[in-house]
């Protein structure tokens, strides 16, 4: 074999382990559940292979599933907006502060390293019947009996926002930090107020970061399983909870496959639209 041929083979040798792992443990399994979603659950014993449309019919027409899917998307959308409203100004402050930017950024990223489940349950300490807020209100004499503030849609959104905010801040910061501040100075020297300069120069230039952060928040929120179980009430199930019910509790794997694929398709469309207009490079920047 010539040296050139060996050179050309080297990268593939390096890539083989990772690509094999992704292929065997992600791509093939995804194709497999596409096939599985057309099988039928048997009352006893193994599921029946074949080409049955029953699971898909149930998944796509049952109003119960449709309502939960829409509700899941609604919760994800509200969470994303909340993250943007809280995260953008904070990221702007960090990017433009004269102090130690990195310390400020790392500080806001710290919760990202703290266990998701601990952060989620920490809200019970704050909002629970014997939590900080109720105790404070009783102590102040504003209420006599503790109020039940937990276990509803608002607390689910609160928990998700607390969990996802670092993703938004990091992405917005990366794009704001890359903007030449001379551009804002140029705008103001041409007579724009700071607010105009921000709206017409800085904001448009930072939109890719905002979009990348938004995509991450939305996709992660829409796929969440734990937050609604811990902070939501019995009627606040999200789509991932349906999948868990079908797969782990009812052991209806064909139906569970169809449900997971529906979630993947809905969120996949979003990722594709994003990829079409902004490309994956922006996302990689924010994650790296």
């Amino acid at each position: 074999m010539s040296i050139e041929q060996r050179e050309a083979r080297q990268p593939w040798i390096l890539l083989t382990p990772a690509l094999t792992a992704i292929g065997l443990l992600l791509i093939v399994p995804l194709v497999f559940i596409v096939v599985y979603s057309f099988w039928l659950k048997s009352a006893a014993g193994a599921d029946t292979p074949g080409f049955f449309l029953d699971n898909w019919q149930e998944t796509l027409t049952d109003p119960f599933y449709r309502d939960i899917l829409l509700n899941t998307l609604k919760i994800a959308a509200i969470t994303t907006v909340a993250c943007a409203l809280l995260g953008y100004p904070a990221a702007y402050f960090i990017a433009r502060s004269r102090g130690n930017k990195m310390v400020l950024l790392v500080l806001l990223m710290l919760p990202f390293w703290i266990s998701y489940i601990i952060r989620t349950m920490s809200w019970i300490n704050i909002l629970g019947v014997s939590g900080a807020l109720n105790s404070a209100l009783i102590w102040l004499g504003l209420i006599n009996e503790p109020i039940q503030m937990l276990y509803n849609e608002t607390t689910v959104i609160l928990g998700l926002t607390h969990f996802l905010l670092p993703f938004m801040v990091l992405n917005v910061f990366v794009s704001l930090d890359g903007i030449d501040t001379n551009l804002e100075d140029a705008a103001s020297s041409l007579g724009a107020t700071r607010w105009q300069g921000f709206l017409q120069v800085t904001l448009p230039l930072s939109l890719p970061g905002l979009a990348a952060g938004g995509l991450l928040c939305f996709v992660l929120a829409a796929g969440t399983y734990i937050t609604p179980v811990i902070l939501g009430g019995p009627r606040d199930a999200m789509f991932a909870n349906l999948v868990y019910e079908a797969i782990i509790r009812q052991l209806n794997w064909p139906l569970g496959s169809a449900l997971s694929l529906l979630l993947l398709a809905v969120l996949g469309v979003l990722v594709l639209i994003y990829n079409r207009y902004l490309g994956m490079a922006q996302l990689a920047k924010g994650l790296g």
């Binding site: 390293w113 349950m121 629970g128 105790s135 996709v219």
Partner: protein, 261 residues
């Protein structure tokens, strides 16, 4: 005026992020027997209860073993793949990159279901192997992103110099590239460990009955009610995940200034 407003707003955002965590730490030292407000005094009794809880200690061992194995496998796979992506011109680079970071883009529930059903079809049921395979898959993209970012900043020249002086590509990798890459390897490994240690959604689908990781153990304890023990466990995890890297960084920094000054 505007800047002040933004600063106040940012402080409020920081409070929003840190207040719940601070309350966890505060309550874990609570002497009150229900572990709730009002606090009656400070005590470390909940840490003792925690230490004597066999289930939690077992969960800790499982999580650490799983996290370490995940970190080693993911880091090896990730470093090799990153080298190929950064150091060679290969056709279909974008497609390969997208494939490699695909596990981030697929919702974790979907990934969990697909892997569980497929490996079950291959007669590998819920087991430690399944857990490990799953954890490797969703930590791999993060390792690749971290290592790639670092690798780009290492100049090709140093490697070429070694090669021109007669070192083999293997020698060059181990004597030049790998030492320069060490911070990224360490960061990638730490990242993989943390993500694995913290994972719950996938783990709930994959874990066999009887095996608990720290997050699934907390999850099952939460079903009853929030006990002060959980707050103590939370404090331990906060100290481990935040404190240790900070101390490590501080030590590295003081060593660097000493040798530099």
């Amino acid at each position: 005026m505007g800047w002040r407003l933004i600063r106040t707003y940012t402080i409020l955002v920081y409070l929003f992020m840190f207040l719940p965590i601070a309350v966890v730490v505060l309550l874990s030292f609570n002497a009150n027997q229900f572990g709730s407000f009002p606090m009656t005094g400070l005590s470390t009794r909940w840490f003792e209860v925690l230490w004597n809880n066999g289930a939690i200690m077992r969960a800790f061992r499982t999580s650490i073993v799983l996290g370490l194995m995940t970190a080693v496998i993911s880091t090896v796979l990730g470093v090799l793949a990153s080298l190929a992506l950064v150091r060679y011109k290969i056709p279909g680079r974008n497609l390969i990159t997208t494939l490699l970071i695909a596990p981030i883009l697929v919702p974790e529930v979907v990934l969990a279901v697909a892997l569980l059903l497929f490996l079950n079809f291959l007669d590998i049921g819920k087991s430690f192997t399944l857990l490990l395979a799953g954890h490797v898959i969703f930590t791999l993209p993060f390792v690749i992103l971290v290592v790639q970012a670092r690798l780009v900043s290492i100049k090709r020249d140093v490697e070429e110099a070694a090669l021109s002086l007669g070192a083999s590509p293997m020698q060059t990798f181990f004597a030049i590239t790998l030492p320069l890459l060490m911070p990224a390897v360490a960061a990638g490994g730490l990242f993989a460990f943390t993500i694995s240690f913290d994972d719950i959604t996938g783990t709930l689908f994959w874990k066999p009955g009887g095996i608990e990781t720290v997050p699934t153990q907390i999850f099952s304890m939460l079903r009853n009610s929030i006990s002060p023990e959980i707050n103590a466990l939370g404090t331990v995890m906060i100290v481990l995940t935040v404190g240790l890297p900070l101390i490590g960084a501080a030590i590295a920094r003081s060593l660097a200034t000493r040798s530099g000054g």
